[in-house]
């Protein structure tokens, strides 16, 4: 039974520091992953969440470990914000037996039930109907859990989005649909793929409360998440949150964002949520420079350890080819 921790509707110092810690963990981990991939020590696709760190951080700081998170290929920020341990995450990126999925799934399918991360999908939109099933189970069991499912702006144009939001509303499921609107789906600009001004305008199609929020603003993002979580936990049904943001490092590794006009990218980078958040903490007296620097030092040390752990972990044994296909081992 998930305890109803009561999080304040507006974040205070403790809450903001919590969120910031998650943001910094995401940013530094992403930067390290990109560096290690460039060095050739790990071969994997990677979809950088650089620029979108605040969104899951503000949400997950208000979730219990047993609340469910469903996410997508661009899921690193969600995984870390929800508490997937660094070592197992890194080992999965490295395809090792010690990874959270024994190396079988890879970064696009990170799963860590203890942290509530139960589905990471590589198919656009497909996490949405699955999130409904998780939430329905919670509703039936009365376990008080909330399910959060993350996806992009482009995903709002695929059938699964429509089917999923309609069902969630009909069944009043305790689920939160978080659309990170980073203005691009692969190389296609929002306007070229989406025939509506804001994704949140689509909530009306499902009689679902919906809001657009600055996903780079930790206070706004906290408040939006608080409202949606409170609604879901109290039986009020689903919410659609459209969090406006941007991605700074292209769609996937190797993508130089050449299709994004330079001025658009520059304007977006000016709104980089991380320095903005740091400034907010310092100016609001929530933390000192030294404290914030210490956070980074600690994370970097953890990353050193995790990278080391991953790269020195064994590869999965060939016998694994026959396991986890079914419950029973088979001769595959």
């Amino acid at each position: 039974m998930s305890t109803h921790q009561n999080f304040p509707a507006e974040p205070g110092t403790a809450e903001l520091r919590d969120v910031y810690g998650r943001v910094m963990l995401i940013k530094l981990t992403d930067e390290r992953i990109r560096r290690v991939i460039r060095s050739g020590r790990i071969v994997t696709p990677h979809y950088s969440p650089r620029g979108q760190e605040v969104i899951p951080s503000a949400i997950c700081a208000q979730l219990n470990p047993d609340d469910y998170v469903v996410t997508i290929y661009r899921g690193l920020h969600d995984h870390l914000a929800k508490g997937v341990p660094l070592k197992q995450l890194w080992a999965e990126y490295a395809g090792r037996a010690t990874g959270s999925c024994k190396g079988k799934g890879g970064p696009m399918h990170i799963t860590h039930p203890a942290a509530g991360v139960v589905v990471t999908t590589g198919i656009v939109g497909s996490g949405i109907p699955i999130a409904n099933g998780l939430a329905w189970a919670s509703q039936l069991k009365g376990d008080g859990r909330v399910t959060v499912t993350n996806f992009g702006d482009g995903a709002s144009n695929i059938g699964a989005f429509h089917e999923g939001l309609n069902l969630a509303s009909l069944w009043k499921l305790p689920v939160i649909f978080v659309c990170s609107n980073n203005r691009y789906g692969e190389h296609t600009a929002f306007e070229k793929g989406t025939a509506v001004k804001q994704v949140s305008d689509r909530g009306a199609s499902y009689s679902m409360p919906a809001m657009t929020v600055d996903g780079n603003d930790p206070v706004a993002m906290w408040k939006a998440a608080n409202e949606a979580i409170t609604r879901a936990r109290s039986g009020g049904g689903p919410t659609l949150i459209e969090a406006m943001t941007f991605r700074f490092e292209g769609h996937t590794n190797g993508d130089d964002s050449h299709y994004i006009p330079a001025d658009v990218m520059a304007a977006a980078k000016e709104k980089d949520p991380v320095p903005r958040f740091r400034k907010l903490l310092l100016e609001g007296g929530h933390a000192t420079e030294a404290e914030l620097d210490a956070i980074e030092v600690k994370i970097n040390a953890d990353l050193d350890e995790a990278v080391d752990f991953a790269l020195n972990s064994p590869w999965p044994d060939a016998a694994e080819l026959n396991r986890d296909i079914y419950l029973e081992e088979i001769e595959a």
Binding site: Y68, V70, G99, S100, C101, K102, G103, K104, G105, H109, T111, H112, P113, V118, V119, T121, G122, I123, S126, I128, P129, I130, A131, N132, G133, L134, A135, W136, A137, S138, Q139, L140, K141, T147, G159, A160, E163, G164, N166, L167, L170, W171, R323, D324, I325, Y326, L327, I330, A332
Partner: protein, 334 residues
């Protein structure tokens, strides 16, 4: 199953067997959920009444009619299964799998593997299909070959009411995702009711007729014609063994190879399109394993390489027939 028993054993249809299995499963295990289009009692308990009574008995929280949204249906099953439930989702007709293939193939089938066993998806998808009712090109397809090609799924296609019940219960209780394919004619065909608590294990073929000259391998509705042909040819002294596979995945290879070891002659019969169908895999495996033991080329009977025609004049020649089965048996007899 034995002839002459029909005076003693109660008769039920496939549809009744499914209803009994669902009722029993829901009684035994509170995590069993039933949902799909029109399945609850306010909607008549299914358009052919297969789920009638369940929502009244077990509550409309466990038995739910859904919107027309197969991705939402299978997705909800995947999620609920991950969260520890045993969902039984209904996709009204197998052709509608085509709008939910992503959830079935990329998710239900793969999530255990992709998570390295951290999560599991013990769901069952029931569906109805089959030719012979002039329902045409989009309401009659047998797509089990697609399912069988997808590792991670179990695929079950029963041929009689007792197996409908026993196999469906086994699917629901199985810890893996199972596809359970019902036939539009068998659902209304009576047969012996099984005893209470009856289970049929997944992966175990039935041998409704033993024989020594020819092996007929089949599953689903054509099994009835295989049995009829075996009985008829027995009168001529041709001894036909009929293997009813019951589950396509896992497949009871041992039963097939043992029979072929005896007979050396094989006819495979299924309702699905022959080319690239399940029969190809069965034939290939037999040829590989029983090489040198075969006395004649394997005969495969399946539907023509075509969409399902509407006109009954064409539909009857599109699928297998008793005559074609008989002719194939005579052919392998040489």
């Amino acid at each position: 199953m034995s002839a002459g028993a029909d005076t003693k054993v109660a008769q039920i249809t496939g549809a009744q067997a499914v209803n009994m299995a669902l009722t029993e499963a829901m009684e035994n295990d509170p995590t069993v959920l039933v949902f799909g289009e029109d399945v609850a009692d306010p909607e008549g308990g299914g358009v052919i009444k297969v789920t009638q009574g369940l929502s009244t008995r077990f509550g409309d929280h466990r038995v739910k009619s859904t919107p027309i949204a197969e991705q939402a249906i299978v997705g909800a099953a995947v999620g609920a299964a991950i969260a520890g439930m045993r969902p039984v989702a209904e996709i009204m007709l197998m052709n509608f799998f085509t709008v939910a293939m992503d959830q079935i193939v990329n998710h239900a089938a793969k999530i255990r593997y992709m998570s390295g066993g951290a999560t599991a998806v013990p769901l069952t998808i029931r569906t109805l299909t089959g030719a012979g009712n002039s329902l045409g090109g989009q309401h009659s397809d047998m797509l089990e070959a697609w399912m069988a090609h997808t590792a991670g799924l179990k695929v079950v296609i029963p041929s009689n009411p007792a197996d409908y019940k026993g196999l469906l219960l086994s699917c629901i209780e199985d810890d893996n995702p199972c596809i359970f394919v019902e036939n539009g004619i068998l659902m209304f065909t009576p047969g012996d009711a099984p005893p209470p608590g009856h289970r049929v294990p997944l992966g175990k073929a039935a041998i409704p007729r033993e024989g020594s000259d020819v092996t007929l391998v089949s599953y689903g509705r054509p099994v009835l014609d295989c049995i009829a042909v075996a009985d008829q040819l027995a009168e001529e002294g041709i001894s036909v063994e009929v293997i009813d596979l019951r589950t396509i995945v896992p497949m009871d290879e041992a039963a097939i190879f043992a029979s072929v070891g005896k007979t050396g002659r094989v006819v495979i019969v299924h309702e699905a399109v022959k080319r690239f169908g399940v029969g190809a895999e069965i034939a290939a495996r037999i040829s590989e394993t029983c090489f040198g033991k075969l006395k004649a080329p394997i005969e495969r009977i399946g539907a023509k390489y075509s969409p399902v025609p509407f006109s009954s004049a064409l539909e009857k020649d599109f699928i297998w027939s008793r005559e074609r089965v008989e002719a194939a048996v005579r052919k392998v007899m040489g």
